[in-house]
């Protein structure tokens, strides 16, 4: 067996690929876990996009809403801890009262900021991409300003949610156990995200809400003429999607870390949009695309963490570390450029709806 592998690895060029596969198999536990964890905020961002765009509203302020969610989750944790004390964590997820209050505040903040986008793009009928950009700038400016102001006080945060630890006997089962652990070794936000994606997939294609949302995104006038309130449905979807994006932000500041840094979302909102397009505006597809983008990042991290041996390792050490930083963004561009044209957006995406138009 070992000889076969050694032989395979020695083949020029193809051998490198074989070595990469071997390396990934060896590190599957680490890579899979990392990929799911990295995919969750992207998938939540994409899901936010799906909810908006299926109803015909382009949302490019996902990034800003996530950032605000991350900030508010963190800062409200600080405030709640200051008032209530840190509290005793429950055995599951390390839940504390300040953490829950902070999470609720983050979701509320996300919905409020999305309400602004809804108002600008649905009622004022500003170009939706411009509205989104303004909100991104405002969110970055406001969180940056407040963060600078507050960091001077070196505040004490509420900590972070804890992952659901599976028993070691399960985790140690090769492949199946590792993959199961990758999916389930998550805090409450991660678990919620995965559940949410499945639920939204079913709702979008099987429920009354889903049918009406899709109708409004494809042909709002037709929906209006059968008595559906297009404006209200769009408002509701955009505002609720704000909670989903904020959940993604809170995941960054309350689950995988316990602090906030300026611009910590680092473009995930936009990668989420790309994931939505690649995933053809479906929740499951979006998650799949998010996993693809996240895998490139997880593999990069793994390579930096434990460099492969052999000729593959030699090759990879020549590649500068910054290449790996840029890899998810490169993958996003390449996949996006490759899939577009085959991925068709809702017909009324981005078009403001005017209820009463002179004809």
């Amino acid at each position: 067996m070992g000889q076969v592998v050694a032989f395979l690895y020695a083949i020029p060029v193809l051998g490198l690929l074989a070595q990469l596969v071997g390396y990934l198999l060896d590190n599957l536990q680490f890579v899979a876990h990392g990929a799911v964890a990295l995919a969750i905020p992207i998938a939540l961002a994409g899901l936010c996009g799906v909810m908006c765009e299926r109803s015909g509203v382009i949302n490019i302020c996902i990034e800003g809403v996530m950032l605000l969610g991350a900030f508010v989750g963190w800062i409200m944790g600080v405030v709640a801890t200051a008032i209530l004390g840190p509290g005793t964590p429950l055995p599951i997820f390390g839940l504390t009262l300040p953490l829950l209050i902070a999470l609720a505040a983050a979701l509320l903040a996300g919905m409020l900021l999305s309400l602004l986008h809804a108002w600008l793009s649905i009622s004022v009928r500003v170009d939706q991409i411009i509205s989104g950009t303004i909100i991104n700038i405002a969110a970055a400016g406001l969180t940056g300003y407040l963060n600078t102001l507050i960091s001077q006080l070196s505040p004490q945060g509420a900590g972070a949610f804890q992952p659901l630890s599976l028993p070691d006997t399960v985790v140690d089962i090769p492949v199946v156990g590792w993959l199961l652990n990758a999916v389930l070794d998550q805090g409450p936000i991660g678990i919620t995200a995965i559940v949410l994606i499945v639920v939204m997939q079913i709702l979008l294609f099987r429920s009354r809400w889903g049918l009406r949302t899709r109708a409004v995104g494809e042909h709002p006038k037709a929906a209006e003429t059968v008595g559906i309130d297009v404006i209200r449905l769009r408002y509701r979807n955009v505002v609720l999607s704000g909670a989903v994006a904020a959940l993604g932000g809170a995941y960054l500041s309350m689950e995988i870390t316990n602090s906030f840094q300026a611009n910590m979302t680092a473009g995930r909102g936009f990668i989420g949009l790309a994931a939505m397009i690649v995933g053809r505006w479906t929740p499951i597809g979006t998650f799949g695309a998010a996993l693809l983008f996240a895998s490139s990042q997880a593999i990069s991290q793994s390579i930096v963490f434990t460099a492969p041996s052999g000729s593959l390792g030699d090759l990879l050490t020549i590649v500068p570390a910054q290449f790996y930083d840029a890899l998810p963004y490169l993958v996003t561009i390449v996949v996006l450029a490759g899939v577009i044209g085959k991925s068709i957006p809702p017909a009324a995406d981005g078009q403001p709806y005017e209820r009463e138009a002179a004809t």
């Binding site: 709702l203 037709a222 008595g227």
Partner: protein, 545 residues
């Protein structure tokens, strides 16, 4: 009052029994008209779309609302359907005053509307489209589509419709889509049906079918408002006719006591010549020759499948066909917007196949596109920019890459004068002009040059009679100056009035070329609908080899 019509229904009862249900039997229902609109006034910035309009529709009546494009018919119906709120006036249903706040409100009160542009979601199935807004639910969250499909199948069989509830609407023919719209209304138990220009996109045969259906519905107690600007149709179908002009009711008629000339004068406000005086044409040498043309659509399927024809100098060739039979793609291939996959196009003996838009334009081809808002005009731009949209780069409008403002201004003044474009100045955004004047901007730009070939795609769609007359005269003048004209139109009447020869397109092929002066409307309609398989010997005699 008729309780079942006025109270909100959470979901309509399944209409298991085929055929129309019996009309309401309340005491008021028998006396009061089904619908009364009193003094409806609706103002939009700069226009009074409806000016104190009165309209009453009786039970079991087909009431025609006749008026020109822009007369205010659609606005009135939007008011009735809750899509617009009147500034003044009152609506009574079965004698009871009501306020219709939204389409949902209208539907609850038994009003349904079949819009001119179908209100159907193309990517949805027939069933999804029909239940939308009145969903059949398995539980409070999830839909019960199989149950809905069962109900729709029963309803549609009752009317003899051949519709698969699971079919995607985008793949249905126009006639079938209209049936889906009507089923939508019947599924909601509508008592008052409004049909806005329902025959605009149908062949004469399909029109006959829908007339039979409407009469059957009326006989079953449904009230029907039939909106149209086609005089002979109104005379054929209506029990009573209300004519509106510029937002006002100008007269009431009963078909037995009127005729087309009378209605036309009432509708337009002056005596109109119903048919164009096209004079005699003097065709010369063939200008355009198309041989074996094949074109694919955006999705890659071949929609023009080997077309041969020619147009002579000084001749109008009308292209008839049901929308979606490849006319759009063929026109786009002729003007360079789409690259044909096979075949040749020669203009005055010169091969212009696969030449780009600009080179074809410079070879002397003028093109009036079907969708002037999408292709023909840049609406936010001033009129002057639109008048030079296709030749902005040429002398005298530009030297090198620098534009010559003075030359452009001068050309615009001439165009505005010659083509009677009603605009405060050449600097206002084209968006602010009326539809007729917008189209005149396109016409002026394309007609003012010396042309070998003029391609007109739906040149008068949605215009008022005055603009239509003007444009038709210009086309005749261009023909008489020796230009070859290709006229593509969904209005069969326009084709019949204008063409020297008529070609019928069916599934990507020309199935017949007929003489324009002798062609019979029903014959052309049959060719459009069936491609001539069911047509008699008259059709095959003109068929292209």
């Amino acid at each position: 009052m008729n309780a079942s019509d006025a109270t909100p229904r959470p979901a309509p009862p399944p209409q298991a029994a085929p055929g129309p249900p019996s009309p309401g039997t309340g005491p008021t229902a028998a006396d009061a008209p089904a619908l009364e609109m009193r003094g409806i006034t609706k103002r939009y910035p700069g226009v009074v779309a409806n000016d104190h309009i009165d309209l009453d529709v009786r039970h079991g009546e087909i009431h025609a609302l006749l008026g020109e494009n822009g007369a205010g018919k659609t606005t009135l119906m939007n008011v009735l359907y809750g899509l617009a709120q009147p500034d003044e006036g009152q609506i009574l249903l079965d004698g009871q005053p009501v306020r219709i706040a939204s389409p949902a409100d209208a539907i609850r009160r038994g009003i349904s509307m079949v819009h001119q542009h179908f209100m159907l979601v193309p990517v949805f199935s027939v069933a999804e489209n029909i239940v939308l807004g009145e969903e059949t639910m398995a539980n409070p969250v999830f839909l019960d589509l199989p149950e809905a499909e069962r109900r729709i199948r029963a309803l549609s069989e009752g009317f003899g419709f051949d519709l698969d509830p699971e079919a995607k609407v985008g793949q249905l023919s126009v006639g079938q889509q209209q049936r889906v719209e009507i089923l939508k209304a019947l599924y909601r138990d509508a008592r008052l049906l409004v049909l806005d220009e329902p025959t605009a996109v149908l062949t004469p045969q399909e029109t006959e079918e829908i007339f039979v259906l409407l009469k059957r519905l009326a006989a079953g107690g449904h009230s029907i408002i039939f909106i149209s600007h086609k005089l002979y149709e109104v005379l054929e179908i209506a029990d009573r006719i209300t004519v509106i002009r510029r937002g006002k009711v100008v007269g009431h008629r009963v078909p037995a006591e009127t005729d087309e000339d009378d209605l036309a004068e009432l509708m337009v406000g002056r005596e109109v010549q119903l048919t164009v005086d096209r004079g005699t044409s003097h065709p010369g040498e063939p200008t355009l020759e198309v041989r074996g043309l094949r074109v694919k659509d955006d999705r890659g399927s071949e929609v023009v499948r080997g077309v041969d024809f020619e147009i002579r100098a000084g001749e109008i060739l009308g292209l008839a066909g049901v929308a979606g039979n490849g006319q759009d793609e063929m026109v786009e291939a002729l003007v360079g917007l789409r690259s044909p996959t096979a075949g040749t196009v020669t203009l005055g003996g010169r091969d212009i196949t696969r030449h780009n838009v600009r080179s074809i334009n410079e070879a002397g081809v003028g093109y009036v596109p079907a969708d002037r808002h999408r292709f023909g005009l840049v609406l936010p731009f001033p009129v002057s920019d639109n008048l030079v949209l296709t030749d902005y780069y040429r002398r005298p409008y530009a030297r090198g890459i620098v534009q010559d403002e003075a030359a452009i201004d001068h050309a615009c003044e001439v165009c505005i004068e010659d083509y009677d474009i009603r605009t405060p100045s050449a600097d206002v955004p084209t968006r602010t002009l009326s539809g007729g004047n917008q189209q005149k901007v396109v016409v002026a730009r394309e007609f003012r040059r010396d042309l070998q070939l003029l391609v007109l795609d739906q040149p008068t769609r949605g215009l008022d009679v005055g603009s239509i007359e003007f444009i038709h005269k210009q086309v005749i003048a261009k023909r008489d100056a020796g230009t070859a004209v290709l006229l593509v139109s969904a209005e069969l009447d326009e084709i019949l009035e204008m063409s020297d020869r008529i070609a019928v397109m069916y599934r990507g092929q020309l199935v017949a070329v007929l003489d324009g002066r002798t062609a019979d409307k029903n014959q052309v309609g049959l060719l459009m609908a069936t491609g001539g398989h069911a047509a008699g010997p008259a059709a095959s005699s003109g068929a292209v080899a």
